[in-house]
Subunit: 262 residues, 2 copies
C-alpha cells in the first residue's frame, strides 16, 4: 500500500512541515520504501519531483523538505509497491494534459480483476501499475463525456467521483486528483483531512520531532486544508472520511462532495 498527502490553500503555502512527516513513513516510521513523488501547482503550471528511491534516503526529497515551494494545490505520494515493479515510470503522482489543463493524480490501494473492464484509448499508461491505468481510464471517460472543458469544473469532479465509485468495485481506491484549482479526495477506506484557519495554533508531527506554531507562519486570512492517509499530527482534530465519501476542495475550502452518514 502507499500513503497520500494533498493540500489546498487560498494563498501560496509551502508544505515542508507535512511533507517532513510523510517522508519519515517512506522507510523510517513506515514501510513505503518504493519511491515517492510530489507535484506543486504554480499558476497554470506544475512541477513534479519524484524518485524511485525511498523518500527517507532521497537527496531530491530532502530538497523538497528544506526548500519552501509555495503552492495552492499539492499532491504527494509515497509508494509501497504491490502491482508494478519499483521504477520511475511506476512512481506517483501521474500527470496528463486535458483541455489545456494539467491533471495530476495519486492512488492508494490495490485493484484486481479490472483488466477487461478498464480499456483506454486517448490516454495510455506508461508504466504497468493498476493506479496509472485507472487514472488514464478516468481521463478517457471524462474526455469522452466532455470533449470540451465544461464551464463549471465541479460537474467534472462530481463525475470523477462516480467513476471512482466504479473503480472501488475492483478493490481499494483512495485517490487524490487536482487540476491546479480544485483538489478532489476520494475515500475507499483511509483518508483524513484538516482545515487550518485563524485562530492558528501549534501542531506536532506524529512521525518526527517537529512542532510548528502556525500563528508565526500565517496571516489571519489564510485557509489551508491538508489531506493524508493517516493524520500527520498528534494534537489536532482531523476529520476521518468514510468509504465512498469524496470532497472537492478549492482555495482550502470544501466546495462539493458527498457526505456519508457515520
Amino acid at each position: 500500500m502507499c500513503e497520500l498527502l494533498g493540500m489546498s490553500a487560498n494563498v501560496p503555502t509551502d508544505i515542508c512541515f507535512s511533507f517532513a512527516g510523510l517522508l519519515e513513513r517512506g522507510g523510517n516510521t513506515g514501510p513505503h520504501r518504493d519511491g515517492w513523488g510530489i507535484t506543486f501547482y504554480e499558476g497554470k503550471g506544475c512541477r513534479t519531483f519524484k524518485d524511485s528511491k525511498p523518500s527517507c534516503e532521497s537527496t531530491v526529497a530532502n530538497l523538497v523538505r528544506d526548500y519552501p515551494i509555495k503552492s495552492c494545490a499539492v499532491i504527494s505520494h509515497i509508494r509501497q509497491a504491490n502491482r508494478g515493479r519499483v521504477c520511475l515510470e511506476n512512481t506517483h503522482p501521474f500527470s496528463r494534459e486535458l483541455w489545456g489543463k494539467n491533471f495530476t493524480y495519486a492512488h492508494n490501494g490495490q485493484l484486481s480483476g479490472y483488466t477487461s473492464q478498464l480499456k483506454t484509448k486517448r490516454f495510455s499508461p506508461v508504466g504497468n501499475t493498476d493506479s496509472e491505468l485507472a487514472f488514464c481510464w478516468i481521463l478517457d471517460q471524462v474526455s469522452q463525456r466532455y470533449p470540451e472543458k465544461p464551464k463549471n469544473m465541479l460537474v467534472v469532479f462530481n463525475y470523477i467521483a462516480k467513476l471512482a465509485d466504479q473503480l472501488r468495485q475492483f478493490g481499494v481506491f483512495n485517490m487524490l486528483m487536482s487540476d491546479g484549482e480544485h483538489l478532489i479526495a476520494y475515500c475507499s477506506n483511509h483518508l483524513s483531512w484538516i482545515t487550518r484557519r485563524a485562530p492558528f495554533g501549534e501542531a506536532r508531527l506524529a512521525d518526527t520531532d517537529w512542532i510548528i506554531d502556525f500563528k508565526k507562519e500565517t496571516t489571519p486570512n489564510d485557509i489551508v486544508t491538508v489531506i493524508a492517509t493517516k493524520p500527520l499530527t498528534t494534537n489536532e482534530a482531523w476529520e476521518t472520511m468514510q468509504p465512498g465519501e469524496f470532497k472537492v476542495f478549492k482555495l482550502g475550502e470544501v466546495v462539493s462532495g458527498k457526505k456519508i452518514d457515520k
Copy 2:
C-alpha cells in the same frame, strides 16, 4: 531566444558537466534569465526539474548540477522570454504522453504569423508560448497520421522533421525532442553536437572554470553525444548543424537524419 542542451548515451550517464556550463548562461555568461528546465529519462519514466527563476540563482538547478542523475536521454533548456510571460507553465521542456510513451520537447527560436495555421485538438497548450503550441501541433499531426505506434519509431521522427520544416517557415525553429529512446535535433540556425567515445580526453567548459578528464569518468565502450545551441567546451571539435538539417540519435549514435551540403 533560449539555449538548448540534449544528450543521448549508450549507458546511463550524468550530465552535470554540460549542465554546469549551460547554467552559467542563465544569467551569468548569458542573458537567459527567464526560467530553465531539464528532463531525465530513466527507463520508460522521466522526470523534469524546472523553475521560472534564473538557472544561475536556482536552488533546484544547483541540485541538478551537483547530484548526478544518470540517464540515456536528456533534454534541457534555459529561457529568455519572447512570446509568453515568465512563469512555470511557459518553462521548457514540455511533455505529453502519446501511445503510452513520454514525449519531451524544447524549442529555441521565435515563430510569427502561425495562429491561423497551427490548430490543435487532442493536445492543447497549458501556457501561451509559440513553443508549446508548436509541440502540441506536432503531436496532433503525428497522432492523426499514426493512431497506433508504428513499429519503427524512425518513421515518426522523420515525419516530425518534415513538420519542423513547415514550422521553420514561421521563423526560427531549433528543436530537441525525445521519446526516451531517440533524441531528434532539428536545426534552424544554431545547433552543434559532439560524440565522445574512446579514446576519451579532457574537456574544458567555455562558461565556467571546470575541466573534466572523461577517461576517469567513462568505460571504453561508452558513447555519449551532447547537443547544444553553442558548443559548451573550448578544446573539442563540435559539429555545426546547417539550417534544415536534422539528426536522430539513439544510444549516442546517429541513426537517421538529413545531411545538408555545406
